[in-house]
């Protein structure tokens, strides 16, 4: 073969390979172990550019820092010399109103050796939507098919009050006959249910044929057990006419304490932040979506508080990242102790936390935020012989019963309030007012305000 031909065929082959990579419908990245990008294909840029805080694609972990802050740490801590660090891990992006904008990325990271990693990035928004619907059906099947040691069966009326009492209720919960006429929330710890949620579950049972939740429930002696609770509408309730105290639903409480460890582990992996074990972005946005759906049906106020650790970069710079992580864990503990079981306490990224408070007005939300701020200001975190004092700033916003809104609007307002709290000197709580949005000079994200 003449020399020119072989060079030409090599060139054509190279171009075809290049185009193959250009057109691959998944994101592919090769990077150093520290995330420095060596090679990257177009779909990666399509998905990562809108997220990249610095507008560069120099470092993979930096590009994803705002939505998956723990990647760098998890990659560094991966113990094997090579292997799969993550496989199909879901990264939740900020919910966008616009259709067709990716909301969930799947992220796979393969460690090739001590110096190199490869990543696969895909938009799986539509796929996850479909799976969520399937998961509901799975929960229902699981409830039917799982062997159970004991259950309590109770009838409740259209207002959620217990219509009768029987031996099964006594066996599982220890409650006596006097509970007839009480709302079924007596089985819930006091901070795990709101008055509105009590009705939400009944309405969801009407709409879907059943409503199920899992969590800690209360016995008569105050002790708690891990329980799966199912509410289903009774089929022939029309027979009772308009009698408001007639049985309308059946409530089944199953003690599944022995299965708690297994379900908790699964739940942790999918819905918890790696570092702090608080809810992750996915859990936060799912909870927000559910609360807003409920509020759209039965209006009530919904509060959001965003917290940001003050001067956190300085803590990292001065004491190192492990000490910074300890501060974040400490803050997570104070958050857990301060808020109710019904609230969703989440880490949204970096040193940025959010708490969603159902059925909560502005005064109550401000008081809770202030309680948290005060508690944090007294904390000292031990790190390598030093004791680190830290503070937080908070922004509070409320969607009241009459207002229409979505989670993006609520987050935007809470962020604007947070920006004010930062600007006024930090270690304080500010609430959103309409003037804040009209003076639209606040930056969109305050994450890097320190």
């Amino acid at each position: 073969m003449p020399f020119d031909d072989s060079v030409e065929s090599l060139r054509a082959e190279h171009e075809a390979l290049m185009q193959f990579l250009y057109l691959a419908p998944v994101g592919l990245v090769q990077a150093g172990i520290d995330g420095e990008i060596v090679m990257i294909n177009p779909i990666s840029a399509q998905l990562l550019m809108p997220l990249s805080p610095d507008g560069c694609l120099t470092n993979l972990f930096t590009a994803l820092e705002g939505v998956a802050p723990e990647l760098r740490l998890q990659c560094a801590q991966y113990p094997q010399p090579n292997g799969m660090v993550f496989e199909g891990q879901h990264i939740h992006l900020r919910a966008e109103e616009r259709r067709g904008v990716p909301q969930i990325l799947s992220f796979t990271l393969l460690k090739l050796d001590e110096a190199r990693v490869m990543a696969v990035i895909q938009d799986v928004t539509a796929e996850v939507r479909r799976e969520r619907q399937l998961r509901q059906s799975d929960a229902w099947l699981n409830a039917i098919l799982t062997r159970i040691s004991d259950y309590a069966l109770a009838a409740i009326d259209c207002e959620g009050r217990l219509c009768d009492w029987n031996d099964s209720i006594a066996r599982v919960t220890g409650f006596g006959e006097h509970i007839v006429g009480s709302p079924y929330s007596i089985f819930y710890p006091h901070d795990a249910m709101t008055g509105e949620h009590l009705f939400d579950r009944l309405r969801e049972a009407d709409a879907n044929g059943w409503s199920m939740d899992e969590g800690l429930r209360l016995r008569a002696d105050g002790s708690q057990f891990w329980c799966s609770a199912l509410i289903a509408p009774l089929p022939d309730r029309e027979a009772f006419g308009d009698d408001p105290s007639a049985p309308a639903y059946c409530l089944i409480l199953r003690d599944i304490s022995d299965k708690r460890a297994a379900t908790e582990k699964r739940r942790q992996a999918a819905f918890c932040d790696h570092l702090t074990s608080l809810a992750n972005r996915r859990a936060f946005f799912e909870a927000a979506e559910l609360e807003l759906e409920r509020a759209a049906h039965t209006p009530r106020s919904l509060a959001l508080i965003v917290f940001d650790a003050d001067h956190f970069k300085q803590v990292n710079d001065r004491y190192g990242h492990p000490a910074g992580d300890r501060v974040l864990c400490d803050l997570a503990n104070v958050l857990r102790d301060t808020f109710r079981a019904v609230d969703t306490v989440a880490r949204l990224g970096g040193e940025e936390f959010a708490v969603l408070l159902p059925s909560t007005g502005i005064d109550q939300a401000l008081a809770s935020a202030e309680r948290l701020r005060l508690a944090v200001s007294t904390r000292l975190v031990a790190a390598d012989g030093a004791e680190i004092a830290y503070t937080v700033s908070a922004g509070v916003a409320v969607l009241d019963a009459t207002a229409e809104g979505n989670i993006d609007l609520l987050i935007k307002r809470a962020d604007e309030a947070l920006y004010i709290a930062k600007a006024q000197g930090r270690n304080r709580v500010a609430s959103w007012t309409p003037e804040l949005t009209h003076h639209a000079d606040t930056p969109q994200r305050s994450r890097h305000a320190g």
């Binding site: 190279h14 171009e15 290049m18 185009q19 990579l21 250009y22 057109l23 419908p25 990008i37 090679m39 990257i40 294909n41 177009p42 779909i43 990666s44 840029a45 399509q46 998905l47 550019m49 809108p50 990249s52 507008g55 560069c56 694609l57 120099t58 616009r98 904008v101």
Partner: protein, 128 residues
């Protein structure tokens, strides 16, 4: 058209490019991708071809945002063209971006050009 070679940030550049021959586009020191109302690539100059490592034959006639430059298929670029077409409005904006030329991340400036009275829209690429 003047004989001087137009620069990346020249005014009225879309009209100059519309009137340029393929040879004139090839003489420019920045990348030119011209595409029609269906987003099919119509013009692709030598600078861009060299940077991307793709010959014009592989690119001309292909849909830009899915088959040629999927990295631009997001709200920062593709959506801007869609919005401009929907509103029948003018688009002339320059943004910082990162292209994945030959699978290397390359920092560039993109100039996005669309107007209601021209059928060809342009993405222009200059290294920064």
């Amino acid at each position: 058209m003047t004989s001087a070679t137009p620069t990346f940030d020249a005014r009225g550049l879309a009209d100059i490019l519309d009137a340029s021959s393929p040879e004139q586009l090839d003489a420019l020191d920045f990348g030119v991708i011209g595409f029609d109302a269906d987003s099919k690539v119509q013009r692709y100059n030598a600078f861009e071809s060299q940077a991307a490592g793709l010959s014009p034959q592989r690119v001309i006639g292909e849909p830009l945002f899915t088959n040629v430059a999927p990295c631009l298929n997001n709200f920062m670029v593709a959506q801007r063209f869609e919005d401009a077409a929907f509103d029948a409005s003018e688009l002339d904006d320059t943004i910082d971006y990162v292209l994945t030329l030959r699978m290397r991340p390359i920092k560039v400036k993109l100039r996005l050009l669309a107007s209601a009275d021209s059928t060809t829209r342009y993405v222009l690429v200059q290294r920064r």
